[in-house]
């Protein structure tokens, strides 16, 4: 009799333990899948939302290439030899020299950007008196900010002429995103990120095959899976559909999924 009672107690306690364990495992998986989806959307949002007008280079369901602004600067003076002085917040501290994909010049009349691929080493310059020149010729307030006025060269060789004082410059990264088979979890998709034309690095795995980019062009209320040609310049919103999927720890259970759709308006697109 006592054996029967003790067995019943053991079975009850065991079943409580197993249920608890399954619940815990399920929660852990759900947390992981949500982490996947969240990390994807957070990083994408940070990169994408500041993209300027005509800042999308490639736009299809599995691949997105953008020019993501690194910083904006204003030309406030020039010097012989084809170089200009410009105000850049925090000077060169905000310039990610290895990741820089190029610079752009804003047409002050139309607001359109002209993009040029180059490297930081190609346009950086030193010497001269940037702060003093900008103070003298453009009325710039240089108080306690002399280090934020820098010298740039070779812009005319790309732009055709030296950007005039008052022109706005953008230094940007060219970032590629791609949904592709995961190397970390071979049965799922991963999201790869890197400089355009270089080796991409997987930073999120566990995506479902339905994960995709979608695009909205100016004047259209709906999103489409692919945009090409001149329409690239009219993209004003990007949707990221992230379906994250992880296999259950125990057999016979369905995969744990967590997905959401995030619409990221391009705030700087006209």
């Amino acid at each position: 009799m006592s054996l029967v009672i003790s067995s019943a107690i053991v079975m009850l306690v065991s079943s409580v333990f197993l249920v608890q364990n399954n619940f815990y495992a399920s929660q852990l998986l759900r947390t992981a899948t949500q982490d996947n989806a969240r990390s994807v959307t957070e990083l994408l949002s940070a990169d994408i939302r500041m993209v300027a007008d005509s800042g999308v280079i490639v736009a299809n369901e599995s691949q997105l290439v953008i020019r993501s602004p690194m910083l904006l600067a204003v030309v406030c003076g020039s010097q012989g030899g084809g170089s200009v002085f410009a105000f850049m917040e925090e000077g060169t501290n905000l310039v990610d020299t290895l990741d820089m994909g190029g610079f752009a010049v804003r047409d002050e009349t139309t607001g359109a950007w002209s993009f040029y691929q180059t490297t930081w080493d190609d346009i950086k310059a030193s010497g001269g008196q940037p702060a003093r020149t900008c103070f003298d010729t453009s009325g710039s307030d240089t108080t306690a900010a002399a280090g934020e006025f820098i010298r740039l060269s070779s812009l005319a060789s790309y732009h055709g002429s030296l950007p005039a004082p008052g022109s706005m410059l953008m230094l940007f990264r060219e970032i590629e995103y791609r949904f592709s088979a995961s190397a970390l979890d071979t049965l799922t998709m991963g999201l790869y990120r890197g400089n355009y034309g270089e080796t991409l690095i997987e930073f999120a795995s566990g995506m479902d095959t339905t994960a995709a980019f979608q695009y909205r062009v100016s004047g259209s209320p709906s999103y489409t899976g692919s945009v090409t040609g001149a329409a690239l310049g009219t993209i004003d919103g990007i949707r990221v559909v992230v379906q994250s999927r992880l296999r259950a720890a125990t057999g016979g259970r369905q995969d744990v999924t967590a997905g959401w759709t995030v619409d990221i308006p391009l705030r700087n697109a006209n």
Partner: protein, 349 residues
């Protein structure tokens, strides 16, 4: 005998079950604690993510608030409490295009403090560029009236010639402006008007003239938009002589001599220059009301009326309305504002 055996067996079996139960309870406790930690860390991450997004929103809101509330001289820095956070906005002039247009760099740092971790607030920074339009109203005419028939009666004088001299300010003694700019007709009945030219009636409609004035009337006339003085004139004797404040009156106003002063006078409703009223600067009015023949008001600067809608047919029976470039320049500067450059707001770092 059988009782002793039963007791021994009971001791053996009871110990076995107790150990099992204790072990399982321990395992459950460990699993629960681990689950709690996982959920707790997930909760903390969610909070951090939310706070970060809120800090970004606060920073953006601060930048937009700074630029939209700007009137007159651009301040160096200002803090706003927005939502659960604080936006610290600073500005720096980076380029002077000409005396009327300066380019500013604006930086807004948004911070949101979580009560659980007060030492490490979420922090996001956005920056942008904005043009400071220092004299937004173009120097077109001494009197602008947006529509309807304007009848000038005896002892009324409107003059677009500059009544400021070089002694008044360095930019004085200009060639002057048009006397009257209107989208309607001008009928004289003893009154006079002159200028360079005397009349510009080329505006086809109220909206044409309204757009030409380049006034943010919807903003300036809104009671929620902060101005220097509201409802009544300040004690001008207590203000510096070079101070040209913005004074707003919401509703209809007949301004007699106790409203005498300088700066920008904004009347959101019907405005009637009253008895011995004198004003140096710019007057903006939703509608111009009849000026009686014994009032004899004097405006030395510029009067723009009919901003709410096309001004109805009206009469000015007395007074002088003379263009004064120095007063207009100073008052115009009080209306200067920031205009964010399209597509120039970006996140720093």
């Amino acid at each position: 005998m059988s009782g002793m055996a039963s007791a021994r067996r009971s001791e053996r079996e009871g110990g076995f079950v107790l150990a099992m139960v204790v072990m399982f309870l321990f395992a459950i406790a460990v699993a629960s604690a681990t689950g709690y930690l996982v959920v707790g860390s997930e909760f903390a991450m969610s909070n951090a993510s939310r706070d970060g997004n809120e800090a970004l929103a606060v920073a953006r809101a601060g930048l937009h608030r700074f630029s939209s509330e700007q009137l007159g001289v651009v301040g160096d820095s200002v803090s706003y409490a927005i939502g659960d956070g604080i936006a610290q906005v600073t500005s720096r002039r980076v380029f002077v295009q000409d005396s009327l247009n300066h380019l500013y760099y604006l930086r807004s740092e948004g911070t949101v403090t979580n009560a659980r971790y007060p030492g490490i607030p979420a922090r996001r920074v956005v920056s942008g560029y904005a043009w400071h339009r220092r004299n937004p109203i173009p120097l077109n005419a001494a009197v602008w009236v947006s529509g309807g028939e304007l009848r000038l009666e005896a002892s009324t004088s409107i003059d677009g010639a500059d009544h400021a001299t070089l002694a008044d300010c360095a930019g004085g003694a200009t060639v002057g402006v048009t006397g009257i700019a209107t989208a309607g007709t001008v009928v004289t009945s003893g009154g006079t008007y002159a200028g360079n030219p005397a009349l510009d009636a080329s505006y086809a409609s109220y909206s044409d003239l309204y757009n030409a004035a380049r006034i943010r009337w919807d903003v300036l006339s809104s009671a929620s938009f902060p101005v220097d003085f509201e409802g009544s004139p300040p004690n001008f004797a207590a203000l510096p002589a070079d101070s040209f404040p913005v004074v707003r009156y919401s509703g209809n106003l007949t301004a007699h001599y106790w409203w005498n002063g300088r700066g920008v006078l904004i009347v959101t409703g019907r405005f009637r220059p009253g008895y011995q009223f004198e004003w140096d600067g710019i007057i903006l009015a939703g509608e111009l009301d009849r000026v009686r023949n014994w009032y004899q008001p004097q405006v030395r600067g510029m009067l723009i009326a009919g901003l709410n809608a096309a001004n109805p047919n009206e009469r000015i029976q007395s007074g002088s309305f003379d263009y004064h470039s120095c007063n207009v320049y100073s008052a115009n500067a009080s209306l200067s504002y920031l205009e964010i450059v399209d597509g120039s707001i970006f996140e720093v770092g």
